[in-house]
């Protein structure tokens, strides 16, 4: 890059150039502080009003109980105690835990495979593949669920039509036993492309010299993928894992729309988010719903944090070994 050495040396802090008098430097710096804070101000105003205030308010609400007589009464942690004993809530968390353990590895594995395959440049029409796989991301969850709802249809759905055509029975995707798997499929369909694009973009910016070195050492494509590419894009993979944790435990559109076509299979507490919604807007139990939402938030934050921490620790250990 066309940068003079003198300027490069100053890079991190970007202090004023040496020609400026020393006294002027501190005013210049103060001016830059002010500019930086002004740049941040609009974002943080919205950030505080739309994130921090509601969060605090939600925590506050969760400490009250609505009584028929006497209105809102301070209840301490009663709502939390109730939530932790609420089998419907715990079951919904468990269901999403299962969802996460099964669906996320499949989704991210497929995304990683596609990203690596596209990155080798050995497939024909890889640009088309990339765009077509990504396309479902632009489809709203409502439309995706609606669409798959029709596709799953036992009478007229094309999957059932084909299954009957080749002599298999009619698969019942919407039965209570199968609905979780059917939902996993919808979410996988929606988000493989998004995750693939994040990983692919990360792969594209690995410097080519790394591969050359590996090839000179006699590494094959699989070996390069495993030992060079995957470690190099670990931050991007971590990002997709964290987004998946957040996404999984917040599922809402899928259960609420599937409920219309499979009311027996989808209970009103099928996912924690759907449960919180039903509590707040159907049962009018605002305080309890706030406690549920708050607990869910804490739960997601803890899981994300553990995942992040364990990856960092692993990375440090590996760096220490090499």
């Amino acid at each position: 890059m066309s940068q003079t050495p003198a300027l490069r040396a100053e890079r991190p802090a970007a202090p004023p150039s040496p020609s400026v008098a020393r006294r002027g430097a501190s005013t210049a710096k103060r001016k830059q502080y002010r500019a930086a804070y002004l740049f941040l101000l609009p974002f943080f105003v919205v950030f505080i009003t739309m994130l921090v205030v509601p969060l605090v308010y939600s925590g506050y609400l969760s400490l009250f109980e609505s009584k028929l007589i006497g209105g809102d009464v301070f209840a301490g942690l009663a709502n939390y105690v109730r939530a932790l004993q609420d089998s419907a809530f715990l079951a919904s968390i468990g269901r999403m835990g299962l969802f996460f353990v099964v669906q996320v590895p499949i989704m991210l594995g497929l995304a990683l495979f596609l990203a690596l395959a596209l990155d080798t440049g050995r497939a024909r029409g890889s640009k088309g593949v990339r765009l077509l796989v990504f396309m479902p991301y632009a489809v709203p969850a409502v439309v995706a669920t609606l669409m798959w709802g029709y596709l799953y249809g036992p009478d007229f759905g094309p999957i059932a039509q084909i299954a009957r055509g080749v002599g298999l029975g009619t698969p019942d995707f919407l039965s209570p036993e199968n609905i979780l798997g059917s939902m996993m499929n919808i979410v996988t369909w929606e988000f493989v492309g998004y995750n693939m694009i994040i990983m692919y973009a990360a792969l594209r910016s690995i410097p080519g010299e790394l591969y050359e070195a590996a090839e000179i050492d006699g590494a094959g494509q699989w070996r390069i993928a495993w030992s060079v590419k995957i470690p190099a894009i670990r931050p991007a993979i971590l990002l997709t894992v964290i987004f998946s944790i957040i996404g999984t435990f917040q599922l809402f559109a899928e259960p609420s729309l599937l409920n219309a076509i499979a009311p027996d299979a989808i209970t009103n507490s099928f996912t924690p988010n759907y449960y919180a919604y039903n509590l707040a807007f159907i049962n009018q139990e605002l305080n309890y719903a706030a406690a549920i939402a708050f607990l869910l938030g804490i739960f997601i934050a803890i899981v994300s944090y553990i995942v992040q921490l364990s990856t960092q620790r692993r990375e440090r250990r590996e760096r220490g070994m090499s």
Binding site: P12, V143, A202, L238, A253
Partner: protein, 309 residues
């Protein structure tokens, strides 16, 4: 300013060429693989067939929808009739929903992009007290689930008299912590410190530098953050569902879900299924077109943004 502009252009060109060169020297060794091609295109089928079904079904009338094979045309071509029904049902409310969606998501995306760009640029290009703490707060916010926020936000908005107005959908969508993160990484790479320095020496103020130098170099990053905020608002269902009561204010997602519920509950008395399907098909076109047209920009924007962590 002109001297600055050319320097900026040169810097970017150098950078791009350098990256391309590094890639190209690796490319000649590559061979096409039939197995990989077949495998990848088989995967593509899984992603495309549902959309193909949607396209095919949008051409069928209600009875053909249920009597012909789902993955192929049949029973006449009623696409035009379906469109007509779609746009006339309930006094043309679908047009209203489309316009609402367009207004909400364009406003929210433009706002979110501006806020995220300014914040990301400040994080990338300035050192100031509290920078680390503020950035950690932003990153931590990525992990806050919408659920924990939606309910209290709804209550706060209803106290402020903002529920059932477009603002209830737009304002919460203005916060994009991930956008700030992407923009910070992107700006660190794309805006050269020496350019900012040169502009300062020329006597330009910090805001002028941002508007006239920074923004021009942030193009692909801007497009990326904009598109992803656009999708987030366009596809949002939960927030508008709880915030809005008047169906005239609904975005397409809530409207379609309502139509679908009516279709399922109506026992087939109304020919609504084909309307729902045609509506779904129409509603996904704008975003797909936006992604196709802008792919060069958002892909290069992501490429810089997603590697460093």
């Amino acid at each position: 300013m002109t001297s600055l502009d050319t320097r900026a252009a040169v810097a970017i060109d150098d950078d791009a060429a350098g990256r391309r060169r590094a890639k190209r020297s690796f490319d000649p060794k590559k061979r096409r693989s039939v197995l990989l091609t077949v495998l990848l295109w088989l995967c593509v089928l899984y992603f495309v067939l549902p959309l193909w079904w949607l396209l095919v079904s949008a051409t069928k009338d209600n009875s053909a929808l249920f009597s012909t094979f789902g993955l192929w045309f049949g029973g006449g071509f009623s696409f035009a009739e379906n469109l007509e029904t779609l746009f006339t049902v309930r006094d043309g409310i679908f047009t209203r929903w489309l316009v609402n969606t367009l207004v909400y998501s364009l406003t929210a995306a433009a706002g979110a992009t501006l806020l995220a760009t300014m914040a990301g640029y400040a994080f990338a290009k300035y050192d100031f007290p509290g920078k680390k703490a503020l950035f950690s707060a932003t990153l931590g916010a990525v992990m806050i689930p919408l659920t924990a926020l939606a309910l209290p936000t709804y209550l706060l908005f209803s106290q402020a008299g903002l529920t059932d107005t477009p603002w209830a959908v737009i304002i919460p969508s203005l916060v994009s912590p991930f956008g700030v993160y992407l923009m910070r990484v992107y700006a660190a790479d794309a805006v050269d410190d020496s350019l900012i320095e040169a502009a300062r020496v020329d006597g330009a103020g910090e805001f002028r530098i941002f508007w006239q130098v920074g923004l021009r170099l942030l193009g692909p990053g801007l497009v990326t953050v904009f598109l992803f905020s656009l999708v987030a608002t366009w596809n949002n269902y939960f927030l508008p569902l709880i915030m809005l009561n008047t169906s005239d204010l609904y975005p397409v997602t809530v409207g379609l879900a309502q139509l679908q519920a009516a279709a399922s509950a109506g026992g087939g008395s109304q020919a609504l299924f084909s309307t729902v399907i045609t509506g779904s098909f129409v509603s996904i076109l704008p975003l797909i077109v936006a992604f196709l047209f802008l792919q060069r920009y958002w892909q290069s924007g992501l490429a810089t943004g997603s590697v460093k962590g």
